[in-house]
Symmetry: C2
Subunit: 273 residues, 2 copies
């Protein structure tokens, strides 16, 4: 999906909501826990209930890998289902990969290649290994790298905020350097919502880029704060909510409950767009 298509989708749905598919077998409603394809059936119901309210889905790869080959089989079923729909939606492999150039090429192939098993629109990448670890994710037309800049966890303070000898925190150095590796058409950034005030700093460095903002809801971030500091003329935000939506109910009404929670966020988003 190109930048222009994403912006059109945001305006058409009046939403910049990303639904995180952190699907945990232990949290499935009882009637799905006994199904062989319970993870997929859960995801399909969540997607059917929320697709008109959101613009993106973000499966967290760890949740599928933790189930071994069977989890990845159900991730593929989920992606096949999304691709079979007549409705456009942006997809994010939340994979946090990154390795030397010839290895990153293979991770890009694994998740972004249109002929591969998954065919995501984008994937999250860790910057520690630098330019050649990131660039292979920028070469697929209409596909995106989403680079970790500032994450929403406690450990973000360990290195991301470390200032160099010029007083520049590492996350800002990552933003600055990465502008040489990609552009606003193929690179976004992860910026945690729990540090919303730092979004002004982020916007100073990458004013036009899309930001993927996790951590709204269960992780404690505020949508209002994120919008105040993060919105730009093209919206420029994808705000993720996972647990607050997909586990809104653990009964047979889980999909309706998810739609209700997604609608609350979508309405707030419509108001600011």
């Amino acid at each position: 999906m190109t930048r222009q298509e994403l912006i059109q989708l945001i305006h058409a749905r009046k939403s910049f909501l990303c639904v995180g598919l952190d699907t945990d077998p232990a949290k499935l409603p009882a009637h799905l826990r006994i199904e062989r394809d319970g993870i997929f059936l859960f995801n399909r119901a969540i997607i059917d209930a929320t697709i008109d309210l959101c613009v993106a889905y973000k499966p967290n790869l760890a949740f599928y890998e933790a189930l071994g080959l069977d989890g990845l089989r159900q991730l593929k079923m989920t992606m096949d289902y999304i691709h079979s729909l007549q409705k456009p939606v942006f997809t994010i492999a939340d994979a946090k990969r990154g390795d030397i150039g010839n290895t990153s090429e293979r991770y890009a192939k694994a998740f972004l290649d249109p002929t591969g098993d998954f065919n995501f629109d984008s994937m999250t990448i860790a910057p520690y290994m630098g330019a050649d670890s990131v660039q292979p994710f920028t070469v697929y037309p209409g596909k995106w790298v989403i680079l970790l800049a500032l994450t929403s966890n406690k450990g973000a303070f360990d290195f991301q905020l470390t200032e160099d000898s010029n007083g520049t925190p590492l996350y800002q150095r990552v933003l600055e350097n990465s502008k040489q590796w990609g552009n606003e058409e193929n690179m976004m950034y992860v910026v945690g919502a729990t540090k919303a005030d730092m979004l002004s700093e982020v916007r100073r460095i990458v004013p036009g880029s899309f930001l993927l903002v996790p951590g709204v809801g269960a992780q404690g971030g505020s949508l209002e704060e994120v919008c105040r500091y993060g919105l730009n003329a093209d919206c420029g935000l994808l705000v993720n909510s996972s647990r607050g939506i997909i586990y809104a109910s653990n009964g047979t009404d889980f999909a309706e409950a998810a739609a209700r929670e997604a609608a609350k966020l979508q309405q707030q988003m419509a108001a600011v767009l």
Copy 2:
């Protein structure tokens, strides 16, 4: 595998060689390229030919993920085969994962859990997200986290060598901080062989830890240099070679050729032990 068991294995085999299973379908010998399980059959032959000469195998996950579910199926076959052997060997999932705590827990389960599909002894982890992204990999008894400190690629210069306001490069800060997250029994470090002279700095901070050193051979590092700066009283090194061993020949004699190249490195290692 515990630290003591690993040290015993190194002395028994007179080797600290790790063979990187970066298995690429395009580089398989012609007679295996036409097999459904060609990747596994290649790996099995390499393992049979080299297991008396090395102490560790390191599948690079990207090579398997690039082939989708079928690649991961053959990775599982490879791990099942290694576990079926009567000979001990250390296994490394070269996965470069790392995410917020509750997600890292799932990556740990995916690769380290003895009841999972893969049951590796260890996995490589990127440090960018800090303490809570790393600690979940340290809780499985006898299993290891191998933290990226200094990598062997060009992009390593982008952030890993950035000095903070005290003049400490990021990779040294990673080493220092990580000592709070694990110990010599459950944490190793990736240190690229192309920067062998920096091994003295690494050894100053983590004198007793094992180091996984990639980049010897095809990536240009010298075994002699690595040993000079990196060896400690317990050996403390796992030196990886991938392409130089597994692609020594692309004919039907590929396994014998791999054994020959592995033996060259093993003999040099025996001489320094």
